[in-house]
């Protein structure tokens, strides 16, 4: 296998062109859990660093969600759509000097589809042929995957960082999750080389001088540091005092301070994450979609966006985010109208039969709902309490119940438990939106089938959507799907909260969008006079 023997990342001199040099410090509340181990990571922060900083994915997506070459310089799909062949760049090296090649790509796929690895996002490979039959290393820089024709076939290769076969091939798949590679000794091939990790404190990366020029070459920064600062007041202070250059995910109530400070600026972008109340439609109170729609109509979601997010957000109608090509801009969700909601509820079997202010069904069971959320999350508690107040006038009794996160997850996702009526949660879809696990009747007994929804029309759409390759053909189906979701209201979609980022003015070249905060990290620059 080829090596770059002269590879000296850490000691390479800084180019003296005035644009290079300096250290940018980012601050976030959470540790990069599992670090650079692409086989185990589900966290947003870790994924960002894997995809854009330390590792490389085969492709990246642009602002229009179109795939662009990255580690793969090109790709082709067989006419029948059953083979996907990637041509790998020949000028990318692991940071220990080994060349990245097709075997690394095949290794990543084989481990990710091996059940013993327990890869946390198995849906990526739903339509791929798993195991050795599904991949062929054609030559050192060509690899072919076998699959059934489906939509957005490149999406897994945008998300999963390629892992080094020469370092991890001997690790049993069942031990990959706990292997120290991720957080102790990562070896990547991306624009930044891992330098050090102080647990709970910081990650330090250094510029990779051998990063291919066609992909942007050596980053302008010498070093990129991620600091873990769990308290958001402290994070804001560190930004305002110049100790950090970027504060990730600041609170809406802190935005004004960042805007007013002459040395900082506020960057915002629409995220994929939305907050919702998931209904357990197995419960008799919530089995009738009219009840769920009436609840949505009596919830003032605009007011929630204003109160909780200070306007930094938009009301959500479905899980398809507004920036997505499949989004239906003409979709109308249930408008806030308490009177119409009461009228709609009157059409159902739920009426206040004993005059106590709470509706009952024909057998006398009251319309009472327990809405669970993770204790300590003040925003979600506020949402539950707002609903409690608003639904009381509709004749629905809501009991908010804050639960420890493990207990919340168990009650919601353990198919043998499912002990809740409503569940306040946030969800992030991949760029390939696939809600089969959430709403398809065949998945109702899987962990994510908490809605328990069984609707043949939705099943048909869910089955079809993932198989239509052409976006133009798929778009009308997606619009039908979103309308069906609005009709059925399996979840009460609340809002997409904008991601807010505080950035020091000395840090230039930062562009954030729905792909994340570090998409342009290779172009980040610090003015020479203000270099750390």
């Amino acid at each position: 296998m080829a090596r770059v023997d002269s590879f000296m990342a850490a000691g390479a001199p800084t180019p003296a062109d005035g644009r290079h040099g300096g250290t940018a410090v980012m601050g976030g509340i959470a540790e990069l859990v599992n670090g650079m181990n692409a086989f185990t990571t589900t966290g947003y922060g870790s994924s960002q660093y894997q995809q854009f900083v330390n590792l490389m994915t085969l492709v990246r997506v642009d602002g229009g969600l179109e795939a662009r070459p990255y580690l793969a310089e090109s790709w082709s799909v067989s006419p029948d759509g059953t083979e996907l062949t990637f041509r790998i760049r020949q000028d990318v090296y692991w940071h220990d000097g080994e060349r990245t090649d097709a075997r690394d790509v095949a290794f990543t796929f084989l481990r990710a589809t091996d059940p013993e690895t327990a890869f946390p996002n198995p849906a990526y490979w739903d339509h791929y042929v798993a195991g050795p039959e599904g991949v062929e290393v054609v030559d050192d820089f060509t690899v072919t995957f076998r699959l059934e024709p489906h939509a957005e076939i490149l999406d897994p290769w945008r998300a999963v960082g390629i892992m080094p076969e020469h370092l991890l091939a001997d690790v049993p798949p069942s031990e990959l999750a706990s292997h120290p590679f991720g957080s102790v000794c990562p070896v990547g091939n991306g624009p930044f080389v891992f330098a050090s990790h102080r647990p709970q404190e910081s990650w330090t990366f250094e510029a990779n001088p051998a990063f291919p020029g066609q992909l942007g070459g050596r980053p302008f920064l010498d070093r990129l540091v991620y600091r873990v600062i769990p308290d958001q007041t402290t994070l804001l202070t560190e930004l305002l005092t110049g100790s950090i250059d970027m504060y990730l995910s600041l609170r809406p109530d802190q935005a004004a301070t960042v805007v007013e400070d002459p040395d900082t600026r506020l960057e915002t972008f629409d995220p994929r994450e939305f907050t919702f109340i998931g209904w357990n439609t197995r419960r008799p109170q919530l089995a009738d979609p009219r009840v769920r729609r009436a609840i949505a109509m009596s919830t003032d979601r605009d007011a929630v966006v204003q109160a909780l997010l200070r306007g930094f957000g938009t009301v959500a109608e479905t899980g398809v985010p507004p920036f997505h090509w499949a989004y239906d801009a003409d979709l109308e969700g249930p408008a806030y109208d308490p009177e119409a909601a009461a009228a709609l509820l009157d059409e159902t079997e739920w009426r206040d039969r004993d005059g106590d202010g709470v509706r009952e069904n024909a057998s006398g069971a009251p319309l009472e709902l327990t809405v669970i959320f993770n204790a300590g999350n003040q925003d979600r508690q506020t949402i539950a309490e707002l609903m409690q107040a608003e639904l009381r006038s509709l004749g629905i009794s809501v009991t908010p119940e804050g639960l420890e996160p493990g207990e919340l997850a168990r009650r919601a996702t353990d198919p043998s438990v499912r002990d809740f009526d409503g569940l306040i949660l946030a969800w992030v879809h991949d760029f390939r939106v696939d809600e089969k696990d959430l709403f398809h009747s065949t998945r109702a007994d899987q962990p994510l089938g908490f809605s328990g929804l069984r609707d043949p029309e939705l099943d048909r759409l869910l089955d079809t959507l993932q198989l239509v390759v052409d976006r133009d053909q798929s778009r009308p189906l997606w619009h039908d799907y979103q309308r069906r979701i609005v009709d059925l209201q399996p979840w009460l979609y609340l809002f997409y909260a904008q991601k807010l980022t505080g950035v020091s003015r000395r840090l230039q070249g930062v562009e954030v969008d729905f792909r994340g905060e570090v998409v342009t990290v290779g172009d980040w620059r610090i003015q020479e006079a203000e270099s750390r």
Binding site: Y124, F181, D231, T233, P405, G406
Partner: protein
């Protein structure tokens, strides 16, 4: 004394064993496991079961307990899946930071508290006593996490960005970015600067409590006949205070020292969070959040050992401070 010490150390063994067993049971009783926290697209029951198998959680609890306790007896506390290293290594990375923070805080809190208590007792009912009492009560009643935020706003943000004082302190972390590139002298200065605000928070809150105990203990002692007798014999004020009154007033403070250790470790959790101090408190919070059972157990066991050792030290200090107390 040596026999007493040996006896206490031997007694600590069954105590720690019982504590370890209790901790294991408590962790077992806690709902959920790491697999439950995996909520991602495509997550199936099979994947969850595989995660449990990979983490060794598929075995019955008694088997896991016996395996864990046997390994722990040899110093092997298991593997931390959330940190990707052995529990021993994870603890070794965090424990020194917490010991530094709490150790310095403990010493300074007692020095400050006893000092303030002495002044208050000596100047009882004077304006000095009243002013100090106001401060003591204020700091005593303040939650440490709130005081920490205030100190950050004043001595970090305010001092640097608003009032532009010549001296200001870092708001977070144990070291600065670029610490590895510093010389030995710079490193020490950097460490001390990062210690000042978190230590200041703990010292003010804890020192206020110590001051209250010290004041009342000293007031009680200086009314004793032997102190009056010493004064009557014409001994100097300082000699009476430091030679006769203070040693006897120290006894209840030693009890406070023993009682403060668990409070200190738990209080440090909040301070470590506010100041992003990479210590045991945050380690434990993260371990609980990620259901990293071996790390929770290992960390709790270390806290238990520290408290047992701390109380043993308090007992020995008793014997040192009061010649009438003899063990053995």
């Amino acid at each position: 004394m040596r026999r007493y010490l040996l006896g206490r150390l031997l007694l600590a063994v069954p105590l720690l064993l019982a504590l370890a067993t209790l901790l294991f049971m408590l962790v077992e009783l806690a709902p959920g496991d790491p697999a439950d926290l995996l909520i991602s697209p495509g997550m199936t029951n099979e994947v969850r079961e595989q995660v449990r198998t990979n983490l060794g959680l598929d075995e019955p609890a008694p088997v896991r307990y016996l395996r864990w306790i046997a390994a722990a007896a040899t110093g092997d506390l298991g593997f931390s899946h959330s940190r990707g290293v052995s529990v021993r290594v994870a603890l070794a990375q965090s424990l020194p930071n917490t010991l530094l923070l709490t150790g310095v805080s403990l010493v300074l809190a007692f020095a400050l508290g006893v000092g303030v208590g002495i002044v208050q007792a000596v100047r009882q009912s004077s304006w000095i006593d009243s002013v100090l009492n106001l401060f003591v009560l204020t700091f005593y009643s303040l939650p440490s996490f709130w005081l920490g935020v205030i100190l950050i706003l004043v001595f970090s943000y305010g001092a640097q960005s608003v009032w532009e004082w010549p001296i200001h302190f870092p708001a977070s972390g144990a070291t600065s970015v670029g610490y590895d590139l510093m010389g030995p002298g710079e490193r020490i200065v950097d460490r001390v600067r990062h210690l000042i605000l978190p230590v200041g928070t703990l010292v003010l809150v804890m020192g206020a409590g110590v001051a209250r105990y010290a004041r009342s203990a000293l007031l009680e002692v200086i009314r004793e006949d032997y102190v009056r007798a010493a004064r009557a014999r014409g001994l100097g004020r300082a000699r009476v205070l430091f030679r006769h009154a203070l040693p006897n007033a120290l006894l209840p403070l030693i009890t406070v020292f023993g009682l403060y250790l668990p409070v200190l470790f738990s209080g440090a959790v909040f301070v470590e969070t506010v100041f992003a101090w990479p210590g045991m408190g945050r380690l434990m919070v993260d371990a609980v959040a990620s259901r990293d059972f071996p790390l929770v157990l290992g960390g709790s066991l270390v806290f238990a050992v520290l408290v047992v050792v701390g109380n043993l030290v308090a007992d020995l200090l008793y014997a040192w401070a009061d010649p009438r107390v003899r063990y053995g």
